[in-house]
């Protein structure tokens, strides 16, 4: 009896200790490689090959300059930025319009339309690449940044309409009524009153479209031919062939590609978690 009483807190401590070891251990598994990338980008390849896990004792940014200028990252970077921003703005704008009507009003076909937009969340869209390629070819939009922007905007619509319409639905009725009595039209009510109220949802939608589009590899691989139009992920495949033996530059390239996402993550952790768990929880 006594022995059990004594051993219990001890076992609890062991469990707590085990938990701490697990949590910190896995944090190291995540952060280790990331820190190693930063560390190795800051020292010359010669040193990396001599000692793959040594510290950068005299950090230098030469590799970043090399990746940016010689490996064409300045071209890829601004292509990625322009295409991603344009697609996100376009998709968010049209989704806010559609989400507003679908969230606020019931009319014939409104339920079907909501389901129609929602269906896009579950469709493996890449499988449509052959007809899509032919369609863009007919429109003269293969090897065009505009073509990629339109495709990307289309892929962002299902999630954005889903999130935005559910936010518009929750806004109180009185607001739009008051404005309507004052003689405001539907577009004024939407733009002046409703849209500012769903700003948190807009942030979630923007962040959540930005990340996968910035990272997408498949569509630019298929749809863009000329290297001066390439985005970062496609540029990366050529870069890894050309600079195979220049590890320091490779690491710097990985960082340049990821940096904007890290900035977004630090600014919008809440929106990212909200987007990942959309549909679950309270």
């Amino acid at each position: 009896m006594n022995a059990r009483k004594v051993s219990r807190p001890k076992r609890l401590n062991l469990a707590a200790l085990g938990t701490q070891v697990l949590l910190w251990g896995y944090a190291a598994v995540v952060l280790g490689p990331l820190l190693l990338v930063v560390n190795n980008a800051l020292r010359p390849t010669r040193e990396i090959f001599k000692n793959p896990i040594g510290l950068a004792t005299s950090p230098t940014f030469a590799s970043f300059v090399k990746a940016w200028e010689k490996a064409n990252f300045h071209v890829y970077f601004f292509n990625s930025l322009g295409i991603t921003v344009a697609a996100v703005v376009l998709a968010t704008a049209v989704s806010a319009l559609a989400g507003y009507i679908l969230g606020r009003y019931r009319f014939r076909g409104s339920i079907f339309l909501s389901a129609y937009f929602l269906a896009g969340l579950m469709l493996p869209f890449r499988l449509a690449i052959v007809p899509l390629f032919l369609l863009l070819n007919d429109l003269g939009l293969v090897d065009s940044r505009l073509g990629l922007i339109l495709v990307y905007a289309a892929t962002g619509i299902p999630f954005s309409v889903f999130i935005l319409s559910s936010f518009f639905r929750q806004l109180p009725q009185e607001l739009s009524e008051a404005a309507r009595i004052d003689g405001a039209g539907e577009f004024t009510i939407f733009g002046r009153i409703m849209l500012p109220l769903v700003r948190p949802a807009l942030a979630t939608v923007v962040v959540f479209q930005f990340v996968p589009l910035w990272n997408d590899f498949f569509f630019p691989l298929v749809l863009l031919r000329s290297t001066d139009k390439w985005t970062l992920p496609v540029g990366m495949t050529r870069f890894f062939g050309e600079f195979q033996t220049d590890w320091s530059t490779l690491f710097a390239g990985l960082i340049i590609t990821t940096l904007p996402l890290i900035v977004i993550f630090l600014l919008a952790t809440k929106q990212i978690i909200a987007g990942l768990t959309a549909g679950i929880g309270k």
Partner: protein
């Protein structure tokens, strides 16, 4: 103003307001306005997403010569997929690799995700920190994750082998991505490293939805924390397990970038890491003159399989939940 009069006045004002709310607020605007709001999204989504998807089915029944659609050939493209060399060898092998990918991810990534969600459910120091750190790699492009780990696992200059040698485990150091036996498992692990935050967050949201009174009642009845987890929390998490399973399945059968980065377009070494996504890409864009017809047929098969199995899983999980109630 006497109180009773004030009250009637308020009541009528209130009634009028409610009337307005019913009459005006819920009435849909004219069809013209509705169209102006809906059409931009509808057209963009339909033209560039739904229409091409639908066309895949139609195109799979035609012979292609380069970009030009030729004669109707019925199911010939489908037959070719299973009879023409080397597709007839690559396709079943890639399919099997996707199945391994799914099983491996369920066992490692999602089990660990559940474990971390449970460990981080209790209020503890650093909860936000750990959640943020574990979710961080999700942001990075699959391609970047693949390249990062191929550098980490490099046999000559990779830090992993170097670290193994430093702690005296020289026997374990190997060309991880060059050996057919370890190449695919390495990619599955790298993929899990990227995605683990996703099941963790979903399970965390699920755990937060379970009422604290249920846990309290179980504890009063003398349930240990393991029993609490196994008999109360896990059954109640079943809907989330279902969502995670289906999304993992869809994700794993679409895997592409990370395998490209770690095994190349042909799934090196010797096809040991080839997956359906790569086969589909090669069929469409590195195939022969009739590539587009074959690729459309393959797209239809993959679509039917992914969609069919997902629906089946959803149904199974729903039945399972019912039986537990």
């Amino acid at each position: 103003m006497p109180f009773s009069k004030w009250l009637t006045k308020r009541k009528t004002a209130h009634r009028q307001k409610r009337k307005r709310a019913k009459g005006v607020g819920n009435a849909a605007p004219s069809w013209g306005i509705i169209a102006l709001f809906i059409l931009p999204a509808f057209l963009l989504y339909t033209v560039f997403m739904i229409w091409p998807l639908a066309q895949s089915f139609y195109f799979s029944l035609f012979e292609f010569k380069g970009l030009a659609r030729g004669a109707f050939v019925g199911l010939r493209n489908f037959r070719e997929l299973f009879t023409r060399y080397p597709l007839n060898e690559q396709l079943p092998r890639a399919f099997l690799h996707n199945v391994y990918f799914f099983i491996g991810t369920m066992l490692i990534q999602n089990t660990l995700g559940l474990l971390f969600a449970k460990l981080l459910y209790a209020p503890r120091w650093g909860k936000r920190f750990f959640q943020t750190v574990y979710t961080l790699p999700y942001l990075i492009s699959a391609l970047v994750v693949g390249y990062l780990w191929s550098l980490m696992l490099n046999p000559l200059f990779g830090p992993i082998n170097r670290a193994l040698k430093m702690v005296g485990l020289t026997a374990l150091a190997r060309p991880w991505l060059g050996d057919p036996a370890t190449a695919l498992p390495s990619i599955i692990l790298a993929n899990a490293w990227q995605w683990i935050g996703f099941p963790m967050l979903l399970f965390a949201a699920g755990l937060a939805n379970i009422g604290e009174d249920l846990r309290e009642a179980a504890r009063i009845d003398g349930a240990t924390s393991w029993k609490l987890f196994w008999h109360i929390e896990l059954p109640l998490l079943l809907p989330v397990v279902g969502i995670v399973t289906v999304l993992t399945f869809i994700g794993n059968f679409n895997v592409f970038g990370i395998v490209w980065a770690m095994g190349g377009v042909n799934g090196e070494p010797g096809g040991a890491t080839d997956v359906l996504g790569l086969v589909f890409y090669r069929t469409a864009f590195r195939g022969g003159v009739d590539a587009f017809g074959l690729a459309s047929a393959l797209a239809v098969l993959m679509f039917a399989f992914i969609f069919g199995v997902s629906m089946f899983m959803v149904g199974q999980f729903r039945r399972w939940e019912e039986s537990l109630k």
